[in-house]
């Protein structure tokens, strides 16, 4: 096992695929990473940014995510988890970044994202001390919730839905399900390379189908004359134009904690996939991974990019294909950095039809949910766990079902009940302590009796 080779897996964590396969496997991950680039595009549109500023935000977001992915794949003393767990633009930061940008422009957004990154870095060493707080069934819940948290965006994409209230085209839905079916069947029935490149094959099949059946996908590819082939990313907002605001510190800290929890879940999932036989978590790579995540977020803030986060979908893809080599993440990160300087190519890839993107996210998300559930029910179950997991799921999922309710809730509830993943994790951790209070007291008094007796 030292060389990272695993029985039944195509490439283990430490194994370096041959250059040709390394590049193709990295491209497969890069295509999935492109899903998150919709965030800086939407961000720029909501800010009413000029095309030049939009291009800068996208390029720097790619650069930050690319560098973050490379660092995450390393295994240095304090930096890098050493898992295939690439960085993408973090959706959890999106709405708060937009608020900061509205309140104080790009300088304030940059400053607050840098602070959030520093908070994540500060939290990283604490994780090692949280073994008691995260028993394995809660770890399983966290991993499952990572998959659950992408349900909304992935299904909306699968149906080709751009905006709330818009119609859903029959051709788009057909293309989405066709693409998903090709991915699943290539994974299940495919052998060798077809299985290894199942996502890429499904994406290609879906894109071809979209070009045939969806006229808008042909339109979207018809003109790129205004996009330069090569361009150096520029900072129209000034390299050192950074500001901070105290009143935004608390919400950004809360989101940083949520971001850390999400990355914690992703890194745990990556570890569980890499070491399924392990009975205990190895906290060191997770600590280093969180440190890297925080550093990448701070770097993104310095660049003026969207905050970055570890990617659940890519971890899911690694799990579903069994291709776990961390060098794929290194190569994917390098490609992402390179594409930041090639806007025309990036623009073409970014026009991938939404239903195909949705299919990719669902394909990867399936694995995350099931890996989490299996880890959760691996140990003996009892009534306490039923309440911990049940109440955590109720509260966590309610943030997705009832966003209007939480938007009008008291401030302290709004701060912590943001998204399904962080909410479920916070409630599970608190409930786990509450329902086990009696055993804690009983154990302590038993210990005192023993000492006294």
């Amino acid at each position: 096992m030292k060389d990272g080779k695993r029985a039944g897996f195509s490439y283990g964590v430490e194994q370096v695929p041959p250059p040709k396969h390394l590049v193709v496997l990295a491209v497969q991950h890069v295509l999935l990473m492109f899903v998150s680039l919709s965030l800086p595009i939407i961000f720029a549109a909501q800010m009413g940014a000029t095309p030049a500023v939009t291009m800068s935000i996208i390029s720097f977001s790619m650069l930050a995510a690319g560098i973050g992915s490379i660092l995450q794949s390393l295994r240095l003393r304090f930096i890098g988890s050493g898992y295939l767990c690439p960085n993408v633009c973090g959706p959890s930061y999106f709405s708060l970044s937009l608020s900061a940008a509205w309140a104080g422009g790009m300088p304030l957004m940059r400053g607050m994202i840098i602070l959030a990154g520093l908070v994540e870095m500060f939290l990283a060493p604490v994780v090692q001390k949280l073994k008691r707080v995260f028993p394995s069934y809660i770890v399983g819940l966290v991993v499952a919730m990572v998959g659950v948290s992408i349900i909304k965006s992935s299904v909306a994409s699968l149906f080709g839905l751009g905006f709330r209230g818009d119609s859903v085209g029959g051709a788009g839905v057909t293309v989405g399900f066709f693409s998903l079916l090709v991915m699943v069947l290539a994974n299940l029935w495919g052998r060798g390379f077809l299985k290894m490149y199942c996502l890429l094959t499904g994406m290609a099949a879906g894109w071809i189908a979209a070009l045939i059946f969806m006229p808008e996908s042909r339109f979207s590819l018809s003109s790129f004359d205004h996009v330069p082939v090569f361009a150096l990313p520029r900072m129209p907002w000034g390299a050192f134009s950074i500001s901070f605001r105290w009143d935004l510190l608390l919400p950004f800290t809360v989101i940083a904690v949520s971001g850390s929890l999400k990355s914690f879940g992703n890194l745990l999932a990556a570890q569980r996939i890499a070491r399924p036989e392990a009975k205990e978590m190895n906290f060191r790579p997770i600590r280093n991974g969180l440190l890297t995540d925080g550093f990448s977020t701070a770097l993104a803030g310095f660049f003026g990019a969207m905050a970055v986060d570890t990617s659940s979908s890519n971890v899911g893809l690694a799990g579903s294909t069994g291709v776990l080599s961390r060098w794929i993440a290194t190569c994917a990160g390098a490609i992402f950095c390179l594409l930041a300087f090639l806007p025309r190519l990036s623009a073409i890839i970014a026009r991938m039809p939404k239903p195909v993107l949705g299919a990719s996210m669902i394909f990867a998300g399936c694995f995350m949910i099931v890996t989490g559930l299996r880890a959760m029910f691996r140990e003996k179950w009892d009534q306490r766990r039923t309440f911990v997991v049940g109440i955590a799921l109720f509260m966590g999922l309610s943030t997705g079902f009832l966003p209007e309710l939480y938007a009008r809730a008291p401030g302290f509830i709004q701060s912590f009940f943001t998204d399904p993943l962080p909410t479920a994790v916070i409630v599970a951790v608190v409930m786990n302590q509450v329902v086990n209070l009696d055993t804690l007291i009983w154990n302590r008094s038993a210990g005192e009796d023993h000492e006294g007796g």
Binding site: G162, G165, D166, A204, W207, L211, P215, F219, S222, R408
Partner: protein, 300 residues
């Protein structure tokens, strides 16, 4: 491996084919919603059909009426005198003259359609109005697009299709503001009276074209705000920004600018995103700013 290679070759060929071939149809890339794009394409296809087959094509439309009616929109064809030649939604209107039809604000719909079709900045002939659905209770808001067709037989036809409860497209306010700016450049500030009239085409649903200078508001952006002394340059949104001042700062030349801002939603009591489109025109030495505000689309 061969299978994978073949698949990839096919993918690259199809992608290149997709990139190189110019798709036939109207350019709908300015619209944010699929519903709007679908409606324009739907009406454009019918217009192309009638361009080719002329009045003979009307019989074909009548024989295949269901194809020209969906739960979201339907097709109609008028001649230049306002006679309804075909109406997929309400066939009993066929043969009637619609020239005097007014919406609930008293606006003549045929006149609005004619004006829209003459506006080069309104390539899909959009008009916005409300109508009463037979046996309905509330007026139904509607946005319709139109194409003027010169048939092979030399007849001119207006081919249109409308969507009830339409999405608020930012393109709609761009068309109105640009049209108002062009009219001020041509006719001077006497056009302000028309722009201010709530029964003009410059007001629809919650949208109203407004005009201001750096010192004063000439046409208020608020529908019932005639008596309020607004100072738009110092007005702030719920995030504390000054959207009008920011938009004015961004203006260069005669191109319009877009500015997003936050305002509290009347019904949900939460901040929602609005978008302002602003143009600058100089008329008789005075610098005027023309704008309109509409809703931003929400993520699914």
């Amino acid at each position: 491996m061969k299978t994978v290679r073949r698949l990839w070759l096919l993918a690259i060929t199809a992608t290149l084919a997709g990139c190189s071939s110019q798709p036939r149809g109207p350019n709908t890339s300015m619209y944010q919603y699929r519903d709007t794009r679908d409606l324009v394409s739907f009406v454009w296809k019918a217009a192309e059909f009638l361009r080719e087959y002329g009045l003979e094509g009307i019989h074909d439309l009548r024989e295949n009426r269901e194809e020209y009616r969906t739960p979201d929109y339907y097709l109609y064809v008028y001649d230049m005198r306002g006679n309804a030649l075909f109406h997929a939604g309400m066939p009993y209107l066929e043969g009637r003259n619609m020239g005097q039809m007014e919406d609930h604000r008293g606006r003549n719909i045929q006149n609005m359609i004619s004006s829209a079709l003459q506006d080069s900045g309104n390539p899909h002939g959009w008009v916005h109005y409300s109508w009463w659905e037979p046996e309905g209770f509330y007026p139904v808001p509607k946005s319709s697009c139109h194409f003027l067709v010169l048939t092979c037989g030399g007849d001119s036809l207006i081919v249109g299709g409308g969507m009830d409860y339409p999405h608020e497209e930012r393109e709609f306010i761009r068309i109105l503001v640009d049209n108002a700016a062009d009219r001020i450049l041509e006719q001077g500030i006497r056009v302000l009276e028309t722009i201010a009239d709530p029964a003009s085409a410059y007001s629809y649903r919650d949208v109203k074209v407004f005009v201001f200078t750096e010192d004063t508001v000439l046409v208020s952006p608020v529908l019932e705000g005639g008596g309020v002394n607004l100072s738009l340059m110092s007005a702030t949104d719920t995030a504390g920004n000054r959207p009008f001042a920011m938009a004015v700062e961004k203006l260069e030349g005669d191109a319009g600018v877009w500015q997003v801002f936050l305002a509290r939603d009347r019904y949900r009591r939460m901040p929602e995103k609005k978008i302002l489109y602003l143009r600058r025109v100089v008329s008789a030495g005075d610098t005027l700013y023309l704008g309109a505000v509409t809703d931003m689309p929400e993520a699914p």
